[in-house]
């Protein structure tokens, strides 16, 4: 792997260099939120120390700098996902808000009683509940692509579920609970063949491998800054310009208008029409810094590291007695969800925590996935570019400790 040295990468993340509970921290919960490199932390500090002002309105020098930083971040995001035009990048709070935005603008305009919204059994609640709400508001029907016992989508079921009433397909690119990588390009091709637009939840994808929205062909793509080593409270909705331009506004307020009288409001152009109020300026600046950090490492290198470590971790965990992997898709990203013998995931989590190992336990905001696998919860270790084989080895030792306590 040229130019990728995980030891050096770790040096960029100050939070990793601490002891917790008297042991070196082992952070295996990046699918929940990722840690931040010094470059991102510095960008936030620099913005507040030098450039902070409101954007798009001031004539003064600071406002110019802040506007440049904010719009520069938009261009950085465009480049990162290879969108055609920076106007196709809408800054939002995160993936959740991006999906709600599409459901409440595009959805409210184009989806009515008896129409169908197609999602999958493996969606995060963020890609279920906004559609459920839309269905309750409009009388539309929520349809679901099933998952098989490996945690892969049943692709044979897809064509029959894409009906003449389907108005949108909303699908995750990587399952946060199972790690399954979904062939969203192929799904988009099939949906488009029937004239159905596609929204992709990329929250767990952009951090692990290169994403090219033009190549995927999807109409909307949503992701969060905090899972890709950027700040919380900033995220992105990519939308094809033709669609965004035809969509009604989301929230009302300053910056999203061209003119306001008490009788009439003229809305601003995209993307500003969807960014009411003072935006999360430092968040956008921090996100751009995270992207530059990833670009410097090279997303191909990141992908290779994550792939290699996932293979190592899968083998290591499967050798732990009584461990059953939940989600064994042929193509997976850096998530290992599992059950350990008869031990409840929360007890696993507590014992690992005392060993300084952070994992997530619970339903991972994907209760329909838990229902499919008939488990109340799982333990989930998730890997990122700063994780090492030593982290995996520590996890395995921790799991043996759990078995010892519960023998």
């Amino acid at each position: 792997m040229s130019g990728f040295d995980v030891k050096k990468v770790r040096e960029d993340f100050p939070i990793l260099h601490q002891e917790v509970r008297g042991r070196p921290l082992v952070y295996l919960d990046s699918a929940a939120t990722a840690q931040k490199p010094q470059a991102v932390i510095d960008a936030l500090v620099r913005f507040y120390q030098h450039d902070n002002a409101n954007v798009h309105r001031g004539v003064h020098v600071l406002s110019e700098r802040a506007t440049e930083a904010y719009e520069g971040a938009r261009e950085t995001v465009r480049r990162f996902i290879n969108a055609r035009d920076a106007k196709e990048i809408v800054f939002v709070r995160g993936t959740t808000e991006a999906i709600n935005l599409v459901a409440q603008t595009y959805g409210r305009k184009h989806i009515g009683a008896g129409d169908e919204v197609l999602i999958t059994q493996m969606e995060h609640h963020a890609n279920i509940v906004p559609w459920r709400m839309l269905c309750e508001q409009t009388g539309a029907v929520l349809k679901v692509i099933p998952v098989d016992d490996r945690g892969e989508l049943v692709l044979d079921a897809v064509d029959a579920l894409l009906t003449e009433r389907t108005r949108i397909l909303a699908v995750t690119q990587v399952s946060n609970a199972l790690g399954t990588v979904v062939p969203v390009k192929e799904l988009t091709r099939r949906a488009h063949a029937k004239g159905i637009p596609v929204l992709v939840d990329g929250a767990q994808a952009v951090t692990h491998f290169p994403v090219d929205v033009q190549d995927l062909g999807c109409d909307f793509y949503a992701f969060s800054g905090h899972k890709m080593f950027g700040p919380t409270g900033i995220g992105v909705l990519y939308g094809r310009k033709e669609l965004l331009e035809a969509m009604p506004p989301y929230q009302g307020g300053g910056d999203m208008i061209l003119s306001v009288t008490m009788e009439k409001v003229t809305y601003n152009r995209v993307p500003y029409r969807f960014e009411a109020g003072t935006p999360n300026l430092e968040g956008a600046v921090g996100l751009a810094a995270a992207i530059r950090y990833l670009e410097a490492l090279g997303m191909e290198n990141v992908a290779a590291h994550d792939r290699e470590l996932l293979a190592y971790a899968t083998q290591a965990l499967e050798a732990v007695p009584g461990l059953r992997m939940v989600g064994t898709a042929r193509e997976k990203s850096a998530v290992l969800s599992f059950m350990l013998a008869e031990v409840h995931p929360h007890d696993v989590g507590t014992i690992l925590d005392r060993e300084g190992i952070c994992i997530r336990t619970g339903h991972h905001c994907a209760q329909p996935v838990m229902q499919h696998f008939k488990v109340p919860a799982t333990s989930r270790a998730s890997l990122a570019l700063y994780n090492t084989r030593e982290d995996v080895d520590a996890l395995v030792r921790g799991l043996h400790k759990v078995l010892e306590v519960f023998q």
Binding site: R21, G22, R23, V343, H344, P345, H346, D347, T350, I351, R354, E355, G356, T361, G362, H363, Q367, M370, P376, A377, V405, F406
Partner: protein
Amino acid sequence: MSASDDLKDLYQEVVLEHSKRPRNYRVVEGATAEAAGHNPLCGDQLVVTLKVEGGVIKDVAFQGQGCAISKASASLMTGAVKDRTRAEAEVIFERVHKLVTEGPESVDVDALGKLAVLSGVSEFPARVKCASLAWHTLRAALEGRGEAVSTE
């Protein structure tokens, strides 16, 4: 205290034993009250059934799924409140609640009897809800609130 001492306090033998073989894991026949409890964060769910006669809890049982702490706490609870009056059960509830939130220093541990094994929970703030779920559900059943109790 070292990390592993904390763990030993939380997962005491008695706790592990009760979680593996919970007592009164059934539905009370001819129950006069019941309530369901749910911890939405972990997905823990249990149902407590009771038979109260003349103000005394004549029988109490639970069923459900959860972690070792929540199962052990429910199991220990059924033993502790059986044949107690409502008022006595309420006093025990308050003591256990204090024990798991504030620690053993804040309560008369001797008065707790077997329930004292839950003292380790206070060192694990994330697990207080696990230990409390059965108790909140019991209280709801005693107060005639049959609807699901949530720890959130």
